[in-house]
């Protein structure tokens, strides 16, 4: 591990995004998604599942007051993952046990958004939320509405399932983002008090719990908290969580007196000590959140064996477990990774949150070692699986991002019951929409990085950037045509490293450069204008034939976008279409038209084989992320050739 090659993303406050493709998405998040979510937290979206966020925090604030007065609260059960009007008392906690995290993700998104675009009204709303959160803090620092309302004495007794450390992680990220954007320390200070309680509670000392998050995120959140406050114990606590994970006896067995059904902790990535983990397994979001934390700790402690594990895990994801759209997690069962090369299209899971987590992991790996593979994958996820998570109007969301959908099957085949053929307004388990909002609002953090010698452009998003050693303006039409103009005013001689996208074989760079690990390094000694031209054309992509169901098929991509075919453009029964790889592919700006054929429908179920009766057809492709914006219909990414 070479410390001198480490880099660090550029803070959002030093980035001003201005990009023809991303502006409207970021603005949509600010003007629509964030306010919409605020309404959802208030349970004011008609026809949507209830969030209960506000009501839980209000109940918790009352409970905190009662406790401060030394009075006793009524106890409610703490035995379920989800509480609804049907299964609990009206005064008890409602919703999923991890419901608080949505609130925190929202604050995080608001913080990022305020960095990019001041908005007094939004700030007022956020501060109302922050006041509410702080009023729900107990005297010992604890903040978690579920246990505070239902039974505060049971806090930290079911670390595996009940998400306290997960909620803490999101609280931290939200508090830091808000503090960075506004300088308002209120939530950050409250968070530090809670973090202090966590540091006291979890560790290897006497009376401490040798536990670690059931759902990871606190690891990377504690690293951020260290970065924001300089408090080293937070970094050490993150390291403790990483180091302890998977050791025997497993805390998840200890806390339930070893009486688990099978003691298999693959789902939570606690099946092995993290340094021995080579294969990405279990719940995909948890996994990539853990791996992100591992990469952080590997970097801060220069821990080569930990980095080796990160690399093995990355390799496994990139080479065996990644959808072409940047989706990960191939099975609904446990929202988990499946085995190598098991990437079913019509039964994918590919949760929006998991791809977001993959981008976190990618950024951290690239900050340790600048190889373009990390941001190539991040780009794949960003432009496809992640953007697909949100409707074009910002008002509905996908949780799973399938690569092939037949709406009839979603309704009639119970194995596909989890699949929604159109985006939903909101989810009871609403992890994805606020996660999307915070990702989009903090996009800059994933685009630009720096160290003493080099400024990295990982993702081509138009922006003005104040780096330590240079001021930069990026003008980008990358999404549209692969062209980028970089104006740079260095404060000292530096290198500018620009990523050569994986999809691009034909590019021009207007200055001399040297290629290393997929980046073109350009020496900058004085003010310069550099033109990058990554020539994009429609091209067919072959998925490895080790992925069984894609044998004999192909997908279409152009630039960073994967394309798909929809029924609304191409009629029902998309499986009857076949694309001619030698035919033409015409881009009309909106869509790509490909030459192909449509088979006549067979009337009999079984018949003697003869060459299929086909008629020529123009097949219309649209970018994958745009699918299902014109009503419920069939869609497929892969097609026969």
């Amino acid at each position: 591990m070479k410390k001198e090659s480490f880099s660090k993303h550029i803070d959002l406050k030093n980035i001003k995004i201005n990009d023809p493709f991303w502006n409207k998405i970021i603005e949509l998040v600010r003007t629509d998604v964030i306010p919409y979510q605020y309404e959802a937290f208030n349970d004011r979206i008609e026809g949507a599942e209830k969030s209960y966020c506000f009501s839980n925090f209000r109940k918790a604030a009352k409970a905190a007051e009662v406790l401060r007065e030394g009075k006793k609260l009524p106890d409610y059960p703490v035995d379920k993952w989800q509480y609804t009007d049907d299964n609990c008392d009206e005064n008890s906690f409602h919703g999923w046990v991890f419901q608080d995290s949505d609130f925190y993700k929202w604050i995080e998104a608001v913080g990022y958004s305020l960095s990019n675009h001041p908005d007094e009204q939004l700030k007022r709303k956020a501060e109302e939320v922050i006041d509410l959160i702080c009023s729900a803090q107990l005297e010992n620092g604890y903040i978690n509405t579920y246990y505070t309302i239902n039974n505060p004495e049971k806090a930290f007794t079911n670390i595996r399932d009940f998400h306290e450390l997960y909620c803490f992680g999101h609280l931290s990220e939200g508090a830091i983002a808000y503090y960075n954007a506004t300088g308002n320390r209120k939530l950050l200070d409250a968070t530090c008090r809670y973090a202090d309680l966590i540091c006291e509670t979890f560790g290897r000392g006497e009376g401490q719990k040798k536990a670690y998050p059931g759902h990871e995120i606190a690891e990377m959140a504690l690293v951020k908290l260290y970065e924001a406050t300089g408090e080293k114990k937070y970094l050490d606590e993150a390291k403790f969580f990483i180091d302890e994970r998977g050791l025997k006896p497993c805390w998840f067995d200890v806390e339930r007196n070893q009486k688990t059904r099978d003691g298999d902790h693959t789902y939570e990535q606690a099946h092995l000590p993290v340094r021995e983990q080579k294969e990405a397994v279990g719940h995909a979001v948890r996994a990539v959140y853990l791996y992100s934390g591992m990469a952080d700790i590997a970097k801060y402690y220069c821990d080569d064996t930990l980095l080796d594990a990160c690399e093995s895990l990355w390799n496994n994801i990139e080479n065996q477990k990644l959808y072409i759209t940047g989706g990960i997690g191939a099975t609904v069962d446990g929202e988990a990774f499946s085995f190598d090369y098991d990437l079913p299209n019509d039964q994918a899971y590919a949760e929006t949150c998991a791809s977001i987590g993959l981008v976190f992991f990618a950024r951290r790996m690239a900050e340790v070692y600048p190889d373009s593979r990390y941001h190539n994958v991040a780009e794949r996820a960003l432009f496809n699986n992640i953007l697909s998570g949100m409707a074009e109007d910002g008002k509905s969301f996908f949780y799973s991002n399938l690569l092939e959908v037949n709406p009839e099957a979603c309704k009639k085949d119970s194995r596909k019951r989890y699949i929604s053929p159109v985006r939903q307004k909101w989810f009871g388990c609403a992890c994805c929409p606020p996660n999307l909002a915070r990702m989009i609002s903090s996009l800059g953090e994933y685009c630009f990085a720096q160290n003493d010698e080099t400024i990295f452009i990982h993702q081509y998003v138009g922006a003005e950037i104040k780096a330590d050693n240079a001021d930069i303006r990026v003008n980008s039409t990358y999404a549209e045509n692969g062209r980028v103009q970089v104006s740079i005013s260095p404060k000292k001689p530096i290198k500018l490293a620009v990523r050569i996208p994986e999809w691009c074989r034909d590019f021009e760079i207007s200055a001399p450069y040297e290629i290393k690990n997929g980046y073109a390094y350009i020496s900058i000694t004085e003010k310069a204008e550099i033109f990058l031209d990554f020539k994009s054309k429609a091209k067919l992509i072959k998925c490895s034939n080790l992925v069984r169901e894609n044998a004999g098929k192909a997908a279409l991509s152009k630039g960073p976008f994967v394309y798909c075919i929809e029924e609304v453009d191409n009629g029902k029964n998309l499986q009857m279409l076949r694309v001619n790889p030698q035919g033409s592919f015409t881009d009309d700006g909106e869509a790509i038209l490909a030459d192909g054929f449509r088979e006549k429908a067979d009337t009999s179920l079984y018949s003697e084989y003869k060459s299929p009766e086909e008629s020529p057809a123009k097949i219309r492709f649209i970018p994958y992320y745009k699918w299902a914006n014109r009503g419920e219909n069939e869609m497929t990414v892969y097609f026969r050739v």
Copy 2:
């Protein structure tokens, strides 16, 4: 409906099977499967799930004695589908609630087997079993070990779920088969006493329950009981069960005070009155058992609307819901039919029992109206899905018969956890092995039928047949080469109707004939020898492109057999194989060798599309029913062309 075209299968006692293909299978059932199952009922098969049949009947016999003495029994819960050592008292009922039926299916198989092959030792075992069953009969005629042991007062209180009428149906079929074979009336008489209780309990009269079987079979069993005894009330009771089914209010709601979760009775085919049912839905075995009973009643009562429903249901199965192997039931969830054209290969269910039930339905439809389509489907099921259910040594069984299996996925993908990549020794829910035994042992009933004017050969199985109007000897090498020789000595001028197999376009018949509805009708006025030559060659079959996953693929068949590719012959990753439709197909007696190609494995998950690198390969196909007899390995029926 034309009564004069009705026919009736020829009784087993008038059929002596002697066929080079079937002899060894029938003999295997007699010498291995039936004795093996006897051991299983005694829980003496090491490593197999326990059956508990003998022990349940012994407990029930003791309980019956206690009750006869007017004493009270301890009550055990009657609230579960399956009782194991872990969840019940050692003195209570064990196993599945429908466990008794396995015993009855075994007796039925023994009866059929004794018709074909006297066997004193087997007869002794059967009579020991019969004595045990009779000793478990209560004074009112009731026979069901589950309720008798656990709580006789709860009898008939959960008709939907707890299978009493299902067990009664199997008891009847067993008793009739044994009586027909041996003349021993003991079990038949006991069954009639139980049937009388059922006729008293279920009906439209005052104090009667307007119920019908949750799991159908009693319908066709009561028809058989009527045929065996001449007691018309049994036929009427069957008609009552058919007529009442699906009427509102549904008994399944009534018996649980309407407090079902959703009142959706699709699973049990009680969602609509049977005459309004057009689509085959729900649990596939239940469905075809019901449809068989409907066809029986339609025939006996000349009920055209009921027959119309049967025809609609048949059409739906044959044209939209039938696997090429004759399997039905495309989803594990509810062991049920999926929607039209949803026939996944690697997540099929295609239960052995369901195909057996389909043959029951086919025979009954053909007896009403002799169209070859019914026995074409029966042949498809018999030679493929049904035979696949049993290992070549008769010692292990498939419950589901998949069309594509990757053993790695069965182990690592929870969605495929229900799939066994090799046959199992026995099942706790052991419906299929004894069902197979009774089907194979009564094969003759599905081959030959008669009415006043015509003798039908539906299936070409070598046999000597004493029909009412002729003695016939069929010498058949049909399975091997499609050749059949029929020697017939008529007692009066008659027609011999022989089915032209669906797969055969090129055949010779050595006598003049007229084709009608897929049968060749030959006038027989005197002793004659007729040669039938159904020329079979390997041919590729196309599945309708409305079945999404088979688009661009084909299957291989020869004669009545569907073929498959196994890893043991062709290496791993069968999806990399492609067959050349214009190539040669050479049959070496054991297997068919086809010309094709094997793709080189792709090392990278995504790459720019180019024509795949392929090398020529000889692809070895074996009949589908023989698969998984050489250890665990990949298999597929469909392949790319």
